[in-house]
């Protein structure tokens, strides 16, 4: 089956998008959420189970503790307390663990072992993933049902001192708070003193119920010098002293008759042997959990602390304080804490916890009936009911006690089963879906690579052996094999898997598709093999015409840059600072182009002058004839273009500082946005808009020209209405509005321009086969896009758009056309420019730099679909504008190379899928990396959205080429 290169490329990209979507689904587990996003209320609690009918005997559980002090020490590792050095590090704590009335456990934290997700886990009891971070981009506050909210709702008075992450997560929840920032990692004394300084006065007072302390110093020491440094011991001794102080104060305050206190010492995560954290190694995951309260039995000797989950603390604290357990908690109550209460209360507590877990299970799993834990819970609940009946009848025999013990055991088993079933769904990579996605993507990438010689040939058509592949025996064998593998994997894995939960039809389609791709791959590979040396000679940059092919310096640069950039994605710093790489490559590219230009204009003539005598190039500049003068001016313009581009890039680079390491440096953008420089910003914006108009209008019809001019005026007035810029007759003290009217005014013109463009395109396609009309239509669509982007860009970013258009115009005029770069080279250059402009406009690989306010331009309130569309468009404006310019440029070059569009489309697809495919492998390999959630995952999202957009652009290419071939016929 012969398909055109552009069709082939778009097809591959679309399927790669599906593969990556599957990968993402496996990589980011969907968080468990109750279907109703409300918060549990005390009144909603289930009644005590009782066979027979006596509902009014049901009672709410009494709280166990009056006051709770939670002392959270960041990066407190389990062996700092329980290990051999524990006696030296934390003597008082150790004494309490061994001899005091306490319970001690090893609490296992879930990766990512980073502070913020861990705080969320401790307060909500759920296991937050990366998707949570993305979903809560708008609001840093924790909206989920959580312990702190519940405590506040129940009227508990809370005080917090420590890491200001808590303050951001729970604004207005604390009666009194003092947040310390963890910004300066090198400071490990001051951060802790800032917490401790409030302690004495707070402990003397009686007006609080819950005190939370979060100490950061230990974590900072770990980051500086590791867990074996000499700084560790003094810090831990300090922590120990604080614990002693709190404990003795709590003891002295305790009054006879009232409920006892509870003192909790815990860590949010541990630290690895190098002192960092984030991964899932034992020392990072294991944290100590010490509960001290007079309500507990006094210990007689050292016991090995039992292992619990970190999230188990949440339901334990909730029940201990008499609060409802938060809705999404997957923890189970720690039974040791309840030991001293009556059997009835113990059962009641376990029942409440079990009820909450079963509700969550019901909401999050479609086949919850099959879960063993769910069934166990039902049985235990029934047994509980009959026990209650006997109990209320006044039966107090030994038999009843034993029966109660049995029910207790049943409850505990049910809780364990339900909790593990729930947490298996969370915080775990769904490897099977990830691998399946990866296999898809790589098959497609290999097919794309193997098709290179054909796709870049003069015909720009790829011969896909689809039918022979479908009819061959290996295809059916492979289908069977893959289907059996699928069944095997799905029946053997314990954890849930997205790919397994798909319907059979879809899975079968995927299996058939994958085996067909494999057969196609093999047959294409065998077809290439005998021609081995020939393929070798033809590279992506070989060009369609070159019979003898050699790499020029530019080709080497383009290839090495693309490969090197892909490889650089493996280093987290390079992902954070990816813009540096693109700027660096772009600069080098401009210099290489400059060299090419110099060579063309200086060498050519010295070559022609070889026969006569070597002449100075400057002599050429004063020829008498008119055409020669034109050539001369053109030559100097061409020579000036690359340096001009370089200067533009350097200026744009200082417009928005982005990345991580140097993001704090002052940049032009901030300077322009400060209120004193509003006049400068206004002038700059006006100048840029005028320049944009001049650059865009030259190839538009007069209707679009007028629309464009009015639209750009509208853009300025929108910015003035929002308050970014000033009209000359205005004063800065004016009230600002949302600018809805102005923005809608611009939208009207954008739609008008797009409509004229489409009309021209259609006319050129159907009525007259007029190439001129067509290129005008294309340019009008492009100018519509430019107008939209100029509306969405912030005022200080308008120079980016302006420079983009300027560079495009100059490069197209003097470089790409004149130096006879082929479609592949031009495409790679466009792609590089697009990438660099992505970062010029202030983006980075961090989710935080996405400008969400764009989603509200011209809208009264948040409407999801247009908001997402506008945000994506403005974020990817750079790459999109360059890709659209590529379409315009290549289709205007048609008379030179009729298949340029096909080549360009193919190269664009290749350029996008190579890094995307490499990146998903890298991410899979680095999935336990410290920065997987903070650095690599956001980049993964950026990559996949970019792939999606490129697929869209390729489809656009496709329609352009289609109309071209139809107009030719």
């Amino acid at each position: 089956m012969k398909v055109r290169a552009s069709v082939f490329a778009s097809f591959i990209l679309i399927f790669e998008g599906i593969g990556i979507a599957l990968f993402l689904r496996g990589f980011f587990p969907v968080p468990l959420k109750s279907s109703v996003s409300s918060k549990n209320k005390l009144s909603d609690l289930p009644a005590e189970p009782l066979t027979g009918s006596a509902p009014n005997s049901s009672r709410l559980p009494q709280p166990l503790f009056k006051r709770v002090v939670i002392m959270l020490v960041d990066a407190l590792r389990e062996d700092f307390v329980y290990g051999a050095n524990g006696r030296m590090y934390m003597p008082y704590t150790r004494h309490q663990v061994e001899r005091g009335s306490s319970h001690s456990f090893v609490a296992k934290a879930r990766p990512p072992t980073v502070t913020m997700p861990r705080i969320k886990a401790l307060t909500t009891g759920s296991i937050p993933g990366f998707i949570d971070v993305v979903m809560n981009l708008n609001s840093p506050a924790l909206l989920e049902d959580n312990l702190v909210w519940q405590a506040k709702a129940a009227g508990k008075r809370m005080i917090f001192y420590g890491d200001d992450t808590w303050v951001r997560l729970f604004p207005k929840h604390f009666m009194e708070y003092d947040g310390t920032t963890s910004f300066f990692v090198s400071d490990y004394t001051e951060v802790d003193n800032n917490v401790t300084r409030h302690l004495d006065s707070t402990l003397k007072r009686d007006d609080w119920d819950i005190l939370i302390l979060h100490y950061l110093g230990l974590d900072h020491i770990g980051h500086i010098s590791g867990p074996h440094s000499s700084l560790i011991q003094p810090k831990l001794l300090e922590m120990d002293d604080i614990l002693k102080k709190i404990h003795s104060s709590l003891i002295s305050k305790e009054a006879e008759g009232s409920l006892p206190y509870l003192l909790v010492l815990c860590g949010d995560h541990g630290m690895s042997e190098t002192g960092s954290h984030g991964g899932s190694s034992e020392p990072e995951v294991n944290t100590p959990l010490v509960l001290i309260s007079p309500a507990f039995k006094r210990k007689v000797g050292l016991e090995k602390p039992a292992a619990v989950e970190q999230v188990d603390l949440t339901p334990t604290l909730a029940l201990g304080l008499g609060l409802p357990i938060s809705q999404n908690s997957v923890g189970r109550v720690i039974p040791g804490v309840l030991e001293e209460t009556s059997l009835r209360d113990q059962l009641r507590f376990l029942h409440l916890n079990g009820h909450q877990l079963s509700c969550l299970l019901k909401d999050s799993m479609p086949d919850h009936e099959k879960e063993a834990g769910f069934e166990q819970f039902r049985v235990a609940e029934r047994a509980h009911g009959s026990w209650m009946k006997l109990f209320l009848e006044g039966n107090t025999s030994e038999v009843l006690n034993n029966m109660g013990k049995k029910v207790l055991k049943q409850y505990l088993e049910a809780l364990a089963a339900m909790s593990s079933a729930l947490s298996k769904q969370l915080g775990k990579y769904d490897m099977y879906s990830m691998v399946a996605g990866m296999v898809f993507v790589f098959q497609l990438l290999l097919v794309l690579l193997l098709a290179m010689p054909e796709a870049l040939s003069g015909a720009a058509a790829v011969d896909l052996p689809v039918l022979p592949a479908l009819l061959s025996l290996p295809f059916y064998l492979l289908c069977l094999l893959l289907a059996s593998v699928h069944v095997l994997v799905c029946t053997s894995t314990e954890s849930s898997c997205y790919f397994c939960s798909l319907s059979w039809g879809l899975v079968f389609a995927a299996v058939a598709f994958s085996s067909a791709m494999f057969c196609i791959l093999v047959s294409m590979a065998t077809r290439r093999l005998p021609l081995g040396p020939k393929i070798h000679g033809k590279s992506p940059l070989g060009g369609s015409s070159g019979s003898e092919w050699s790499l020029s310096e530019l080709d080497v640069l383009l290839l090495a840059g693309t490969v090197g950039q892909t490889l650089s994605l493996a280093a987290s710093s390079f992902v954070e600072e990816e813009h540096q790489i693109w700027y660096f490559l772009l600069n080098t590219l401009c210099l290489a182009v400059f060299q090419d230009v110099c060579r063309k204009y200086f060498r050519e003539q010295s070559g022609s002058g070889d026969e006569e005598e070597p002449i100075l190039p400057s002599k050429d500049c004063h020829p008498p004839a008119h055409p020669k003068a034109e050539i001369c001016s053109e030559k100097w313009l061409a020579l000036a273009t690359p340096p001009f581009t370089l200067v533009c890039c350097r200026l744009l680079r200082s417009l928005n500082q982005t990345g991580v390491q140097w993001a704090h440096l002052p940049d032009m953008g901030h300077w322009l946005n400060s209120s004193e420089h509003r006049t400068v910003l206004s002038l700059l914006a006006a100048f840029c808009l005028v320049l944009i108009y001049l650059l865009v209008q030259r190839r538009c019809s007069w209707v679009s020209k007028v629309a464009l001019a009015l639209g750009l005026l509208g853009v300025y007035s929108y910015r003035a209405a929002v308050g970014n810029v000033l009209f000359p007759w205005q004063h800065s003290g004016r009230t600002t509005s949302k600018g809805t009217v102005e923005a809608r005014f611009v939208y009207v013109f954008i739609l008008g321009i797009l409509f004229t463009g489409t009309k021209d395109l259609l006319r050129s396609q159907i009525i007259t086969a007029d190439a001129k009309l067509k290129s005008r239509g294309l340019w009008e669509i492009y100018s519509g896009l430019v107008l939209l982007v100029s509306l969405l860009f912030r005022a200080h970013n308008l120079p980016v758009l302006c420079c983009c258009l300027l560079i495009q115009t100059l490069m197209a005029q003097f470089i790409w056309k004149k130096l006879h770069y082929d479609a592949a080279q031009t495409t790679i250059m466009h792609y590089w420019f697009g990438q660099a402009f992505f970062y010029f406009q202030g983006n980075s690989n961090n989710i935080a730099t996405v400008d969400i306010s764009v989603g509200f331009v011209g809208l009264e309130s948040y409407v999801e679909a247009p908001a997402i569309f506008l945000t994506a468009l403005s974020t990817y404006a750079g790459p999109l504008l360059w890709a659209c310019h590529l379409v315009c440029f290549l289709s205007s070059q048609r008379d030179r190379s009729p298949v340029a569009l096909g080549h360009g489309c193919y190269c664009l697809a290749l350029l996008r899928s190579v890094p995307a495919a490499a990146y998903i492998v890298l991410v899979t390999a680095l999935r336990y990396h410290l920065f997987i959630w903070s650095v690599f995952s956001p980049k993964l999202l950026y990559e996949s959205v970019h792939l999606l957009l490129t697929a869209g652009v390729c489809l656009f290419f496709n329609t352009m080429e289609q109309s071209h071939s139809s107009s030719k016929s």
């Binding site: 710093s573 390079f574 790489i581 600069n587 060498r603 070597p614 200067v647 350097r650």
Partner: protein
């Protein structure tokens, strides 16, 4: 073919390389507190000074510089003056290029300019020594198939190695390792020096292995 030239080239390069070595070792012995990272600019200037002095001396002794028609003192002086001017212009050119690559414009201008001086003394100075202050010849040598003697090829290789070395040297800067050699412009100048030394070794070796295939069209 060209065995004589290759031998001369190898020994010249050995002398220049040893001058780089001495410029690193001698100050370390003489100046207290000298280190390549700590007192980087001092090291940088000592290397560029040593390379400048040694190259000028060696190439003058070898007499590779194209013979000039005139031998008047005035012509020689103007030649010297032009060489100095080109040297300074080349420093400015490298400085501009490095700033275009993203070096801060004002903040660490001294460091940037020092790097430009080093690059100039490693690249432009050799051109001045071999080709003289003659832009035409430079353009010829650095365009494709422009080499007309073994020395031209050698010049191409060493210059390319130095520039690529400095280029590659910029890559470790964004990494968050916090090492002393990641400070601007240490990695770039080290890269340039290492590239230059590689070029010194690679040029005679490459010419030696390709001596059968090398053909130069004569003027």
């Amino acid at each position: 073919m060209w065995d004589h030239e290759i031998r001369a080239m190898a020994s010249t390069h050995a002398i220049i390389a040893s001058s780089v070595f001495m410029a690193t070792v001698l100050p370390a012995a003489l100046v207290p507190g000298f280190s390549v990272y700590g007192t980087h600019l001092l090291w940088l200037y000592s290397v560029s000074g040593a390379v400048t002095a040694v190259s000028v001396a060696v190439f003058w002794l070898l007499g590779i510089t194209p013979p000039t028609k005139k031998h008047t003192v005035g012509f020689k002086l103007s030649r010297l003056f032009r060489s100095c001017l080109y040297f300074f212009l080349s420093c400015l050119f490298f400085h501009t290029v490095v700033v275009l690559y993203g070096a801060p414009l004002i903040e660490s201008a001294l460091e940037t300019f020092s790097l430009a001086v080093l690059l100039t003394s490693l690249t432009t100075l050799r051109c001045l020594c071999v080709l003289g202050p003659n832009v035409q010849a430079w353009i010829r040598v650095f365009s494709r198939h422009g080499a007309m003697s073994v020395w031209d090829t050698c010049l191409q290789i060493t210059v390319a190695c130095t520039v690529v070395g400095a280029w590659v040297g910029a890559f470790p800067i964004p990494l968050d390792w916090d090492r002393p050699w990641q400070v601007w412009p240490v990695s770039c100048s080290l890269g340039a020096t290492i590239g230059f030394l590689t070029g010194l070794v690679a040029a005679p070796a490459w010419i030696h292995y390709h001596r059968k295939h090398l053909t130069y069209k004569c003027k």
